[in-house]
Amino acid sequence: MLVSVYRYNPETDLKPSMRDYQIEIPGGKDLMVLDVLAMVKEQDDSVAYRRSCREGVCGSDGMNINGVNGLACITPLSDVVKNDKLVLRPLPGLPVVRDLVVDMSIFYKQYERIEPYLQNDDPVPAIERLQSPEDRAKLDGLYECILCACCSTNCPSFWWNPEKFVGPAGLLQAYRFLADSRDTHTDERLANLEDPFSVFRCRGIMNCVAVCPKGLNPTKAIGHIREMLMERGA
């Protein structure tokens, strides 16, 4: 199989380029893209990419696979490869540190901006804070985010305004804390999101939903945030 990899080393290259590798794919098993990348690295150890858990829960190996963002470790070749060609490029829209490794600082900054931690001003109880199973269920589909950035780097609004638009991943977490019955800072959180960019740059394109490897729905969460903002405004 032909594997075409986006290569860029700041020490030697002025510009990125695509380099092709011929990889013999063993039969009998549907390999994951990450397995193929490991084979490429055996051929050429200068190929840089991130990876860790290799089972889709750590979020390290988000990349653009044949034009679509996804996690290399849980994307089987059978899902993405047609015509025996695999094209691997870094996540779109973020500065490339080297090869498939992007600089995620702006993505993390947007995550930090929504104050991604529980804030509760009530006195701390001796045991846990109680939460009904129904209230806990509101966090399902939100807390599972692995911060892989597949969604935000597939979002045109985030491409154009990564400094101002929180992006789908950050907003999903913003809503995770807005929805938590244990958090008491709802009003402050909403006040920080009311400007024309942070939330409202979302145009409902739903590219985030299309690629989330965990099947989460940031667009819906953003809709809920808007509802809360409206209730607060009314």
Binding site: K109, E112, R113, W160, E194, D195, F200, R201, R226, G233
Partner: protein
């Protein structure tokens, strides 16, 4: 960290907030939609409309108010849309340091066009 309480704002945004922009965009869209549906229905149900009928349609007070309201909705809708377009593409990120000036000129241009549209349309409607 440093950006924790970073507020995002923009001087060229006329609305109070993203929320009001968003609401205005929706409300104006509904008004525009109603106006277009109304007129389409009238035009389609009157295949051989005469000049008199056409003029009559715009001369009524109700329609005049409706038209004016739609005009306002149109200007607001277009402004918010164009402002969004400008702040997406005419940015420092896309075109470097000259972006601010380009965007400003573009937005002033948009305002001028919308002002012309508004005045022109009022003249048209009131000359009926």
């Amino acid at each position: 960290m440093g950006m924790k309480n970073m507020q995002v704002s923009s001087v060229t945004n006329f609305g109070r907030s993203g929320l009001s922009d968003w609401l205005i965009q929706r409300v104006s869209a509904v008004i525009l939609l109603l106006y277009i549906v109304c007129h389409s229905a009238i035009i389609l149900s009157t295949p051989e409309m005469s000049y008199a009928q056409w003029r009559e349609l715009f001369a009524g007070t109700t329609m005049r108010i409706f038209s004016l309201l739609t005009l306002l909705a149109l200007c607001a809708h277009a402004w918010i849309g164009m402002w969004t377009v400008a702040t997406d593409y005419l940015t420092r990120r896309m075109m470097g340091s000259k972006a601010t000036l380009v965007r400003l000129v573009f937005l002033v241009g948009c305002i001028a066009v919308l002002a012309i549209y508004f005045i022109w349309c009022v003249i048209i409607l009131w000359s009926v």
